[in-house]
Symmetry: C2
Amino acid sequence: MLLCDIGNTSYHFLDDERSFKESVGTFNPQNIQEKVYYISVNHAVNAEIANLVNWIDISSLINRERYYETMGIDRIAAVEAVENAIVVDAGSAVTVDAVKEGVYMGGFIYPGMKAMQKSYKDISPALDYSFNFELNLDKMPKNSQDAISYGYLKTLYTEVMLHNLPVILTGGDAKVFAKIFKEADVDERLVFKGMKKILQKADRC
Amino acid sequence: MLLCDIGNTSYHFLDDERSFKESVGTFNPQNIQEKVYYISVNHAVNAEIANLVNWIDISSLINRERYYETMGIDRIAAVEAVENAIVVDAGSAVTVDAVKEGVYMGGFIYPGMKAMQKSYKDISPALDYSFNFELNLDKMPKNSQDAISYGYLKTLYTEVMLHNLPVILTGGDAKVFAKIFKEADVDERLVFKGMKKILQKADRC
């Protein structure tokens, strides 16, 4: 079974156990002949694949009442994969969603690493540092690089841990964030797990 | 006694009890004849006033060993004003500094409101919201505006409150932030209080 999670910049496929990415700019979805079950946050791609009969949008199979209207379908798919966890999806944005005993509790959105670094730099060139992921979380910083790293990472960490739920990291920056969230499980295929669960519930596979 | 806190965009004066601002772009420091005790983070202005004998830089009166080398002098002045508090200075950046029983514990830097809003907007036009300062901090959000407001404000709030110190809000956005930090004292003249204390310690007034 071929699954695809379409973002703003890439098609992320899972072909049984092999996962791979194709660039939105260069990949032609018509090149795939087999059935593809997909979710997409990319409106341009949606228009392109709407008429391809082998591309099947699974978003209509989800009971969306649990969620809110403008919530991204990729966030929903990740949340569908878990029963009791706080999911931190670290990409261009960092989305944080809590599920307690199968009930979606809500979530929040935090800037991704690149956006936040730019934000500090735009305030002042004196704040143009990369983040220190080896940061000591138990001590208030006394240097500029740690002061911005703590501002970005420790505030997020403290809030996430407050919810007393197992933490699951996913998204492109999951492994980097794992240096801060030492207790977390990294699961880069969480969205695909959610997609499979949605298909199983709907008896589609 | 005339005090002045010079930032990147304005001269902030305190003349006994009256405080007022002048724009860096249009104000001519030579127009002031009386003695001005100042601190400044503005290198261009520093060069302009270095030869004016009535403008007295008080930064050399501070025992800077307590602090770190690249720490802004305005942050240091605010910290000098308190004995036991966490100071949240909300301006173009939000600086957070902790002082416990007279000892500086360190601090961190978080993006200011405008920078953070731009950061969300740059990630996606779908995240282009103003922040909701009426946000319910006890509930994970289920709509986009609250999801980014919580991401910006609740993470900061949780981290600040964790330190179990009285919270003092200062800076241009102090009153707006007070809607979230309901327990905090707002003191828009904290930097001036610190400057006075520095002068008193040095027997200069």
